[in-house]
Symmetry: C2
Subunit: 208 residues, 2 copies
């Protein structure tokens, strides 16, 4: 998919922009302003292209939005998930996940707070046609990646055999939503970090 579009030589003036780059720029605008809040002027400016080029490539605003969502998913845009999978010890991995969640929920440097899927996309799911399906896929995929890691830890003996991987995976993702929510209300990262020891135990605990 990333290899067979290299030699495609087309007749006519060549495209002057990188599809992925402008798509990521568009995603950032949607992330910061929401679907309705992001105007085509905002988008074309951030993407560095003009209106007609945008419409020729993506169709319309809605389709650009859907493309941005897919781009986020296919380019591993979720930092906490990457942090989780990058840590070898499971307890540190869970902790890293929560820390990453709090970080990207409170770093208001670029104005894009929280999670692109968890706040921006989720809000527009009932409004923009086609979003709900992409959101569903993304959630299922995240649940799967988290629970598969737990299953792997079970096979290593690092987690008890009766550990409920799927339930705990869902719990992790749902806790993320809570952190994003609180961060949006202005709670400091310090305060959010205060209970991650408790919550790490909650996720990995064997009580039921």
């Amino acid at each position: 998919m990333t290899k067979n579009d290299v030699v495609k030589k087309k007749v006519g003036r060549p495209i002057s922009f990188d599809r992925n780059k402008v798509l990521i720029a568009a995603m950032r605008v949607f992330w910061a302003k929401g679907y309705d809040g992001a105007s085509m002027k905002d988008l074309t400016k951030a993407m560095g292209i003009n209106g007609p080029s945008l419409y020729a490539e993506f169709g319309d605003k809605r389709e650009l939005y859907l493309a941005a969502i897919e781009c986020y998913g296919s380019h591993n845009g979720c930092a906490p998930l990457n942090a989780f999978e990058g840590e070898s010890d499971i307890k540190l991995a869970v902790r890293a996940f929560l820390v990453a969640v709090i970080e990207y929920s409170t770093e208001n440097g670029r104005g894009a707070l929280g999670c692109f899927l968890g706040s921006c996309v989720a809000t527009s799911a009932g409004e923009v046609e086609g979003v709900r399906e992409l959101l569903y896929e993304a959630i299922q995929d995240t649940d799967k990646r988290l629970s598969e890691r737990f299953e792997f830890e079970k096979s290593k003996g690092c987690l008890p055999a009766d550990f409920p991987s799927v339930e705990r995976a869902k719990l992790m993702l749902d806790l993320r939503q809570g952190y994003v929510f609180r961060a949006r209300s202005g709670v400091s990262p310090t305060e959010l970090l205060s209970d991650i020891a408790f919550r790490t135990k909650l996720i990995l605990g064997t009580c039921a």
Copy 2:
């Protein structure tokens, strides 16, 4: 506050609408369409008043939005919280909270999905000035109401003396965010309900 405005006789043509009623109607529109997605035309139509009346009473769109948020808070708009406080047994109360969350996240009869604060307001917190403060207050208030109930149960002896009320209260609210998130992706209420037994135990469990 609801009593001393009855006898207030003012000179001039009297107002022809009920402030609370039109405010609730406005809230429903924001709830369903989001802040940017809700046009003044949508709002005036749902509120049953004309533009000039709206602007005379509330100022502008932003102030109307803030008034709607405050109205939601002061009128006990959160159904799950009411369900929680209406149940005498603490285990049933927690369960009722979760069930109510799932219900109002998936009943798409009126198009207003999830939680007004948890999805609509939270998204606009970084965009509309004044929203963040109201959101912060609402979250703190909810945390407090939940944890106070837990403290009450402790004093009755229905919960162990070392029960971490505040942490579990926050956990409950954060789980709510997770349910709203999943519901927006189209997950059925049946599937969401499948793990509430597990989560009720998680909230009330004494393991740490």
